[in-house]
């Protein structure tokens, strides 16, 4: 087993990990708020740090009309949930579910087509996270929580 350079966080550059997109979402926090009358609210937990992010969705006729989160997480997990919310707001449940699958395929280092990558839009900022195993859970927590929320919401 070769030794990765200490200063490299296992081959992912710091500027790739904390990219402009991620930094922007962290600062703006436009999706960090409480929904008035959410259809479904699901907590997501990262056991390694005790963090909890709560995801809320308002659904109508199979459409995610609005979504938001509360709670605290690291820059990666808060950016990930915020980017995800931007992506799924206005989407059908089916579409959101499909995006989940796409996201997990990307994290699992599968190579996606250009169209697929375009669908994930800003979420491609996390494509390198698998080279940073300690932080994978931070990036995926939002999407795992969404899966549970979609299941709970489906009648």
């Amino acid at each position: 087993m070769g030794c990765p350079p200490y200063g490299r966080c296992l081959a992912l550059e710091l500027s790739d990990l904390y990219s402009q997109v991620i930094r922007d979402h962290n600062r703006s926090r436009h999706n960090k708020r409480t929904l008035c009358d959410p259809t479904v609210t699901v907590p997501g937990k990262n056991p390694s740090c005790g963090d909890e992010i709560v995801l809320s969705l308002t659904l109508k006729d199979g459409i995610i009309e609005d979504a938001a989160y509360t709670g605290v997480g690291c820059a990666i997990s808060e950016a990930s949930v915020s980017i995800m919310i931007d992506l799924i707001r206005g989407a059908t449940v089916a579409k959101a579910s499909e995006l989940c699958h796409l996201f997990f395929r990307m994290i699992g280092s599968e190579s996606l087509t250009r169209e697929e990558l375009e669908e994930l839009d800003e979420a491609v900022a996390f494509s390198g996270i698998s080279r940073m195993p300690a932080r994978v859970k931070c990036a995926t927590m939002a999407w795992h929580t969404l899966q549970v929320a979609l299941q709970n919401a489906s009648p």
């Binding site: 056991p47 195993p133 300690a134 932080r135």
Partner: protein, 410 residues
């Protein structure tokens, strides 16, 4: 680099003492020697990426986590488990059996129930069940064994009842070396709704073992008997069983959430690995599995089989020897128990030690089997892939001197 003369990989076996002698190490059922590859893997860990796994964002912490989890995958693949989540790291076979007895046994065994074991079990696969039965008002029922330490399927059929909750059986007797018919035993146990725990401590190092093929519910083994460090073992469990079990040992690293008066555990296998694990041992186990797979488990078995044919023939010719499991080399691993007539096994072992021949004498942590055999203790020689015909000749030559040393004539 892998040699066909496997001894070349084992520094201890190559070492000559002040009198120019190398040890003929024939106590492999107690523990095995470690190849250079394993020793180096442990040293490299200490010198390059020693850190507490699962707990840090810095480079070496991630590296050890990756190495640690990759051994879990390797173990799963080595024993044919469907995926790494079935593999729990323990501190040894004894630890693994105790965990199952405490976590699972406590749940399923009640008054009037029965636990079935064989009279050939190692104390580590006996005492946890004896205690569980006593605590629960259940019965510990014994199966007798044949001359190789194997249970008889007819007796098993007769003793399995709807009260039988757990069957805990060794794959290979650590005293007599016979290989139990686990596939059949599993099917019979399952037919009455019992759960089968397989003590594979003496099989996984020596023969190919596939948990799905055998259809066992739990299986334990220990790393130090398969070229790897001590203080590490493996518990395999079927997923639904692991899921329903509470951890026997609780502490750091196994929780999703701790509040002052309650706790939520992580899923298996993590929930069973409380406290800092033996990372160096686990990494050594990975290197040991690499070594064994490079040789091939079929080949390991074939090497031992060939040596056993030679050993059975050679020992049978030793004057005054009493062999406790005669017959040919079929359906057994490389273990032979014996005594020299009129000589206590401790004296035999001491005299062999003076010839730098290492065998073990005693009850081998199998006192009920000793009672079954009608002896207090035996000598035991046990082989591994690095042994040679010369080791066996040195054993036979040493044995021929025993009675004379004790003044009993030759």
């Amino acid at each position: 680099m892998m040699h066909t003369d496997y001894k070349e990989d084992f520094p201890l076996l190559l070492h000559t003492d002040a009198t120019g002698v190398k040890v003929a190490y024939l106590d492999n059922a107690a523990t095995t020697q470690k190849p250079r590859q394993v020793i180096d893997a442990v040293r490299t860990y200490y010198e390059r990426y020693n850190a507490n796994p699962h707990r840090g964002a810095y480079a070496i912490a991630m590296q050890v986590t990756e190495a640690f989890e990759s051994v879990r995958s390797k173990v799963a693949q080595f024993i044919g488990a469907p995926d790494p989540e079935h593999i729990v790291f323990t501190f040894g076979a004894t630890d693994g059996i105790n965990q199952v007895a405490q976590s699972y046994g406590e749940q399923v065994v009640g008054p009037g129930d029965e636990i079935l074991i064989s009279v050939a079990e190692h104390h580590s696969n006996l005492l946890p069940w004896q205690r569980l039965a006593a605590n629960k008002g259940a019965a510990l029922v014994y199966l007798s064994v044949d001359r190789l330490g194997c249970i008889r399927l007819e007796e098993l059929a007769a003793k399995l009842t709807s009260h039988t909750k757990i069957v805990a059986i060794t794959h290979v007797s650590n005293v007599l070396g016979g290989i139990n018919a686990i596939r059949e035993i599993a099917a019979m146990a399952h037919a009455v709704g019992a759960t089968l725990l397989l003590d594979a401590t003496q099989s996984v190092p020596h023969i190919p073992v596939d948990v799905q093929d055998l259809d066992v519910d739990f299986m334990v083994f220990t790393a130090h008997k398969m070229l790897a460090p001590a203080g590490v073992g493996v518990l395999y469990g079927k997923k639904d069983l692991l899921k329903q079990m509470e951890p026997a040992r609780v502490g750091g690293g196994i929780v999703e959430e701790v509040r002052e008066q309650r706790v939520r555990f992580l899923d298996a296998p993590m929930k069973f690995e409380a406290g800092t694990q033996n990372s160096e041992g686990i990494i050594g186990l990975g290197a040991a599995i690499d070594y064994l797979e490079a040789v091939g488990m079929e080949r390991v078995q074939a090497i031992e089989h060939r040596l056993m044919e030679y050993a059975l023939k050679t020992l049978a010719a030793v004057p005054h020897i009493v062999l406790y499991s005669t017959g040919d080399a079929a359906n057994r691993t490389g273990i032979i128990s014996f005594n020299i007539a009129g000589v206590h096994p401790h004296d035999t072992a001491t005299i062999l030690a003076s010839h730098a021949v290492a065998v073990r004498a005693g009850h081998h942590c199998a006192q009920p089997l000793m009672a079954h055999l009608g002896v207090n203790a035996t000598c035991r020689m046990s082989l591994y892939l690095y042994n040679t015909e010369e080791d066996i000749r040195r054993l036979a030559d040493g044995l021929s001197t025993v009675r004379e040393v004790l003044g009993l004539g030759t």
